[in-house]
Amino acid sequence: MSAAKPRFAIVVFPGSNCDQDCHHVATELLGCDADYVWHRDTDLKGADVVILPGGFAYGDYLRAGALARFSPVMETVTRFAMDGGPVLGICNGFQVLLEAGLLPGAVRVNRGLRYVCKDVHMRVENASTPFTRLYEPGQVVKMPVGHGEGNYTAPPETLTELEYEAGIVFRYCDESGRVTDEANPNGATAGIAGIANREGNIVGLMPHPDRCAEGLLGNEVGRRMFESAVSSLAPA
C-alpha cells in the first residue's frame, strides 16, 4: 500500500468480535495497512491510528469494558492518545474508553433492557474531530447499532462541559435530524451517541461505522469516519 497511507492498529481483547470487520475496512476498503494488536502486547507497531473494536471483551462480564481496561495494551493506548494520536472506540471499544477514563461518563443497560440491533439516525454535532472531519456539521447519518449497554450518562457538570466544549460528536435523531425520544434506541442522556475528549483526538460512539462502509451492505456512510482519519493524517 502507498507509503503516504496511515497505518491502523486494531486492538484485540479476548472477546473482541468486530476486530476483523474493522481490519476489513482499513485494508480491503481503504487500502491502508493494519495490524492486530493483542491485548497483552504493548507495541502499537508504529500505528498512526488506533481502533478499539466492538465485541464483548472478557464477555462483558461484570460491566461492558470493565475488565478490558486493565489489559496491558491500554497503557500504550493511553500514552498514544495523550500524545495526540487519533483513537476511535466503536461500541464495546467506546465502553472500554469510558471505563478506562479516556472519555468521560458511563453507559448503563439500555432503557428497554434488551440488546438492540438495527439502523438508527445520528446528527453530526462535531465535524472537526479526526474521525468526523469529512462529514458536514449537522449532517444526518444512518448507522447500525448493536448493543445491550449503550445508555450513556454522566454527572451534570460533565454533561455541561461536553455541551460547551463540543464534546458531543453524535446525537441520535430522526431522519429529519430532530433529536427525539423515539429516535433514541437506548435512553442515552441528551440523545448522546458519541463523544470526544477536549482535544478531539479520542472519539467513541455506540453505533457501528464498520458495519456500513461499503455499498454491498447497502450503506457506505460509516466509511467516511475511517477516511476522515486518513485525510487528517495526510501530509498537507
Binding site: P14, G15, N17, C18, Q20, D21, H24, E28, G54, G55, F56, Y58, G59, D60, Y61, L113, R114, Y115, V116, C117, K118, P144, G146, G148, H208, D210, R211, A213, E214, L216, L217, G218
Partner: protein, 741 residues
C-alpha cells in the same frame, strides 16, 4: 465401585432394556461395573445412538457432486468452489429450553457452534427455528422471552450473527417447545478437520471449562446411590453457558488449525467425555487410554462416573500430533484456556479409563459406537387429516378485514421484536438481513454469497407428515431461489414424540420419506441433521416437526434479488397455479377457528422447475423483485412485498377458485416476481421454456394494496395501515405481558 449383579432397578434407571443388558453381558463376557453401565446407558441412549431412527435415516439421499462430508461427522460439508466449502448442521435443545429457557437456548447455540468450528470452519451465521405453544398458555411469554434472550446472549457474545429463522405458535407445543438452531461456517476445502482419534501414541488433550456435575441426565438417580447425598444436593440439572470461554475456544482452535498440529477434534456434547472419546476412537477404529484423575474438575469429590458423563459446556477433546504437543499447549495458553493431556491413542480397539491409578472402565469401542443397537420399531401409518367441510363455509363479508386480522396473528406478524435482539450484522457479511425470504451472506474474498433458510409448516405436518415434510424442503428451496441462489444441500432437525408409540414411528417414517423424495427431486442432499424424540407430555405429542435447514449458493452476489417491490409501474406476475385449497391455512385458523385439512398438495417436479426458473431469471437480471408465496397465501405475500417497500400494488385476479382460496389459500409451488414492462416478453419466454405457468396479475403502484376479481374489489387497503398492524402486533403482544421485563 460395584460388585455382583445389578438390580433390575439400576438397569431400568439407566434406561436399558433387559435385552440391551443381556447384550452388554454378551459383549463384555462379564458384568459391567457401574461406570461401564453408565457409559453403555449414555452411548445407547436414543440421543447418542439413533437406535430408533437409523434404519429410516438410511433412506435419505446424502451424496452429490458437491458433498465433501455427509452425515456422521460433527457437521456436513459441501464444496462452493474457490477452494472453499461450507460446513453446516442443525441441533435441537428442546427439553432444556422448556426447563430454563435462557440457559437452555444459550447452550443450544453454544453446542451447534462447536460442531461447526471443530470441522475447521469459521462460523459465519446462525438461524433459529422456534416452536412455541399458544402465547396465552402458562409461562409461554416467559419462555419466548427467555429463549430469545438466551440465543441473543450467546450468539451476540460469540460474534456470530443470527440472520434468520422462523417462529411458529401452535397449542400442541404448549408443554413441549422446540428450539432448533442451525449454524453455518466456511472452511478451506483442503483443511477440514474430523472427529478421529488416529495415530497410536498421540496425546489426547482436554481443553476448555472445568468439568462440573452439570446435566448428568437419565442415569442420575443410579449414580447418586454411590456418589452420596452431597452430590444429590449439589448436582444442578441445568447447564449454564459461558459464551466468553467458547469464544476463546473458537479463536484458539481456528488459530491452531493453521499449524498442522491437530489430528482430530470433537466437542463434548451430550454424554460429554464418554461420547466424544468413544466416537473419536470409533471413527478411527483405534482405542484410547484416558486418566480421569487428570480431568480438570470444578467441584470436589467428583466420581469417575460423574466425570465421564458430565455435560458441562465449552469443553473439547482433541488428539494432537505427538511432535506438536508443545504448539497445541502454547496456543491454548495464549488464549488463557486450560488444556491438559489426559491420555493417549492406542490401537487396542478399546477405551480404557483410569482413576487414581485404577482401571474404572475397560470397554470395546465398536459395539458402543458404530455397532450400537438398531431397532425397527413397530409403526402404524398416519391417517391424513382431511376436510371437515370447510368447503361449505360462507365466504367472508370483508376480505380486507380478514387480511388485517391475519397480518396481526403471531404466526404471520413480523418478528422484528425477535431479530432486533440478535446481532445479525457482526462479521459484515449480511447482505440480506432477517425479513427477506432467505438470509444472504457474502463470502469475503470471492464474488459469491450463501443463501440460508429454515422452514417447516407444522400445521401441514399435523395433517400429513409425508406432504408436510416434502413441502418444507420445497418451501426452503423456493425461499433460497427467490434470492437468486441455487439450493445446494440440506440439514434437518426431526422433532417428534415418543418412538415407542407406533403412531409416532409411523409419522417419522412418513416424514423421512417426504424429505427423501423432495431432496431427490430438488437435488439437495441431506449432509447433516439431528433427531429429537420424546417431545411429548402426558401422552400428548407435538405435531411432527421435521425442520429443514437449507443452504444455497449465489455465484455472483451482485445478481441477488430481494423481496420488496422496486419501482412503481413494474409488472407483477404470479408463477405457478393456485388450486382451490384452504386446508391447514392461517385463514381457516384465524377467521374460522378450524384446523381442517387437507394439507395442500405438492408437485415436486413443478417445484424443481420453479426453482430453476427463479435462479435463471435472477442470473439474467430480468426481475426487479421476487418473493415466495407461503404462510397466509397470495394476499399476505403481496402485502409483504408492499409493506417492505412502502409501495402499493394493483392486482386483477381471474376467477376460477373461490376468492378466499385465491387470496389466502396456501397452495404450494408459487412465487411472485416483478419486472419492468419492457422485460415482460423475455420473462414470459423464460417461463414457457421452463414450463412454469405465469400470469401477469397487476402492477406496482402507489400507497394502496388493491385486489379485484372479475371487476369486483376484494381488497383495498392503505399499505401504511397494514404495515403498522403487521410490524407492531407481535411486540405489543409480548410487551403487554407481566411475564416479560
Amino acid at each position: 465401585m460395584t460388585s455382583g449383579a445389578h438390580t433390575r432397578d439400576l438397569i431400568a434407571e439407566h434406561n436399558l432394556s433387559a435385552e440391551e443388558f443381556a447384550r452388554i453381558l454378551e459383549i463384555l463376557g462379564r458384568e459391567p461395573n457401574l461406570v461401564e453401565l453408565g457409559v453403555f446407558s449414555a452411548m445407547w441412549s436414543e440421543h447418542c445412538s439413533y437406535k430408533s431412527s437409523r434404519i429410516h435415516l438410511k433412506k435419505l439421499p446424502t451424496t452429490g457432486p458437491r458433498v465433501i462430508q455427509g452425515p456422521g461427522e460433527n457437521a456436513g460439508i459441501v464444496d462452493i468452489g474457490d477452494g472453499l466449502a461450507v460446513a453446516f448442521k442443525m441441533e435441537s435443545h428442546n427439553h432444556p429450553s422448556f426447563i430454563e429457557p435462557y440457559q437452555g437456548a444459550a447452550t443450544g447455540v453454544g453446542g451447534i457452534l462447536r460442531d461447526i468450528f471443530t470441522m475447521g470452519a469459521r462460523p459465519i451465521a446462525s438461524l433459529d427455528s422456534l416452536r412455541f405453544g399458544h402465547l396465552d398458555a402458562p409461562r409461554m411469554r416467559h419462555l419466548v422471552d427467555g429463549v430469545v434472550r438466551g440465543i441473543a446472549g450467546y450468539g451476540n457474545c460469540m460474534g456470530i450473527p443470527t440472520v434468520g429463522g422462523e417462529t411458529t405458535f401452535h397449542p400442541a407445543y404448549d408443554r413441549n417447545i422446540l428450539v432448533n438452531v442451525m449454524s453455518v461456517g466456511v472452511v478451506p476445502s483442503h483443511r477440514i478437520f474430523r472427529g478421529r482419534a488416529e495415530g497410536a501414541g498421540n496425546p489426547v488433550i482436554y481443553v476448555g471449562s472445568k468439568t462440573g456435575r452439570d446435566g448428568i441426565h437419565g442415569a442420575t438417580m443410579a449414580s447418586e446411590e454411590f456418589a452420596g447425598d452431597e452430590t444429590r444436593r449439589k448436582r444442578p440439572t441445568v447447564q449454564v453457558g459461558d459464551p466468553f470461554t467458547e469464544k476463546l475456544l473458537m479463536e484458539a482452535c481456528l488459530e491452531l488449525f493453521e499449524l498442522d498440529a491437530v489430528v482430530g477434534i470433537q466437542d463434548m456434547g451430550a454424554a460429554g467425555l464418554t461420547s466424544s472419546s468413544f466416537e473419536m476412537a470409533g471413527r478411527a477404529g483405534s482405542g484410547l487410554e484416558i486418566d480421569l484423575s487428570k480431568v480438570p474438575v470444578r467441584e470436589t469429590g467428583m466420581t469417575p462416573y460423574e466425570i465421564l458423563l458430565s455435560e458441562s459446556q465449552e469443553r473439547m477433546l482433541l488428539v494432537a500430533r505427538k511432535d506438536r504437543l508443545d504448539t497445541v499447549l502454547e496456543v491454548f495458553g495464549k488464549w488463557e484456556l486450560e488444556a491438559v493431556v489426559i491420555g493417549r491413542v492406542t490401537d487396542s480397539g478399546r477405551v480404557v479409563a483410569f482413576f487414581d491409578g485404577r482401571i474404572v472402565a475397560d470397554l470395546p469401542v465398536a459395539p458402543l459406537s458404530e455397532r450400537a443397537p438398531v431397532y425397527d420399531r413397530p409403526r402404524v401409518p398416519p391417517t391424513p387429516v382431511l376436510s371437515r367441510g370447510w368447503e361449505e363455509l360462507p365466504e367472508p363479508a370483508s376480505y380486507g378485514a380478514c387480511l388485517r386480522k391475519i397480518l396481526a396473528t403471531e404466526n404471520i406478524a413480523q418478528k422484528s421484536w425477535i431479530w432486533t435482539q440478535y446481532d445479525h450484522m457482526v462479521g459484515t457479511n449480511t447482505v440480506e438481513r432477517p425479513g427477506g425470504d432467505a438470509a444472504v451472506l457474502r463470502i469475503k474474498g470471492t464474488s459469491k454469497a450463501m443463501a440460508l433458510t429454515s422452514d417447516v409448516n407444522p400445521f401441514f405436518c399435523a395433517c400429513d407428515p409425508y406432504r408436510g415434510a416434502a413441502i418444507a424442503v420445497a418451501e426452503a428451496a423456493r425461499s433460497i431461489a427467490a434470492t437468486g441462489a441455487r439450493p445446494l444441500a440440506v440439514t434437518d432437525c426431526l422433532n417428534f414424540g415418543s418412538p415407542e408409540r407406533p403412531e409416532i414411528m409411523g409419522q417419522f417414517e412418513a416424514a423421512v420419506r417426504g424429505l427423501s423424495d423432495a431432496c431427490r427431486a430438488l437435488s439437495t442432499p441431506v449432509v447433516s441433521g439431528n433427531v429429537s424424540f420424546y417431545n411429548e407430555t402426558d401422552g400428548r405429542p407435538i405435531p411432527p416437526t421435521p425442520t429443514v435447514g437449507m443452504v444455497g449458493l449465489l455465484e455472483d452476489v451482485s445478481r441477488q434479488v430481494r423481496m420488496p417491490f422496486r419501482r412503481e409501474g413494474d409488472r407483477v406476475a404470479l408463477l405457478g397455479r393456485t388450486r382451490d385449497e384452504l386446508g391447514a391455512s392461517e385463514f381457516l385458523r384465524t377467521i374460522h377457528g378450524r384446523d381442517d385439512g387437507p394439507c395442500p398438495d405438492v408437485d415436486l417436479e413443478a417445484e424443481r422447475r420453479l426453482v430453476e426458473l427463479l435462479v435463471r431469471l435472477a442470473d439474467e437480471r430480468r426481475i426487479a423483485s421476487a418473493h415466495d408465496v407461503s404462510d397466509g397465501g397470495l394476499a399476505v405475500a403481496l402485502a409483504e412485498c408492499a409493506m417492505a417497500s412502502g409501495l402499493g400494488v394493483e392486482v386483477r385476479l381471474e376467477p376460477g377458485v373461490r376468492p378466499s382460496a385465491l387470496l389466502f389459500g396456501e397452495t404450494t409451488g408459487r412465487a411472485l416476481v416483478t419486472f419492468a414492462p419492457g422485460d415482460e416478453s423475455s420473462v414470459r419466454a423464460a417461463a414457457e421454456t421452463a414450463d412454469v405457468p405465469l400470469d401477469v396479475i397487476g402492477r406496482v403502484g402507489a400507497g394502496r394494496l388493491a385486489i379485484e376479481m372479475a371487476g369486483r374489489a376484494l381488497v383495498d387497503e392503505p399499505v401504511a395501515e397494514l404495515s403498522d398492524i403487521w410490524t407492531t402486533a407481535f411486540a405489543r403482544s409480548m410487551e403487554e405481558s407481566a411475564e416479560v421485563l
